[in-house]
Subunit: 120 residues, 2 copies
């Protein structure tokens, strides 16, 4: 979701390879905890567009520390998004990186919610 | 473990209220990923003393960001350890807080491992 993925299928086909039933439970739990929410795709009401609430978006600093820890300590392959974030973090403070990421995310979300309103 | 808890029973009786089978799986998984390890209690070989490896201890910054996020965004009751960390973080940088926490943890771990060696 931080990478602006928004549908069940986007998450299901992500490189993490999460099982469909576990993904369903996680999304329900995150909605119940008000960390994420969803709008129906106005062109296909069967598809939910998930997005981070403000509370969810505020967890960016946690994700940034996780990425930094993973890159330093685990022998995984990392995608270009993670590597880019890591490189930024060696140049600027976490606070600046996460404030930027949160602000970018909110622009993406605003567009998503407006699209949805205009067409429904 | 960050709070210097070390036995299965310490974790099981923690306020999180984790189920015994899930705790068993988590501990196995963390040992397999070399994030934690254990020594047998020299006075009771049935009891494992779990501790964070260097890789595990390096995840303190992630935990600090999680605590800060939780205190800001969730309506949970927090224990004295979490509140203390949060208060420190308003005064000093995350880097200083986590470096201190890692260094304190390594002193605890050294004592744990030496105890074990002396008596086994």
């Amino acid at each position: 979701m931080f990478l602006e993925k928004k549908t069940f299928n986007d998450f299901l086909t992500s490189p993490e390879g999460i099982a469909s039933n576990i993904l369903t439970n996680r999304l329900k739990s995150l909605v119940n905890h008000k960390i994420i929410n969803f709008k129906l795709n106005p062109l296909n009401k069967k598809v939910k567009w998930y997005y981070l609430t403000d509370i969810g978006a505020e967890s960016f600093p946690v994700v940034i520390e996780m990425i930094k820890w993973s890159i330093r300590n685990l022998n995984n392959d990392f995608g270009p998004h993670s590597i880019k974030w890591f490189e930024q973090n060696t140049k600027e403070s976490n606070k600046i990186t996460s404030d930027k990421a949160i602000s970018d995310y909110k622009i993406f979300r605003k567009k998503l919610l407006n699209d949805s309103k205009n067409q429904s």
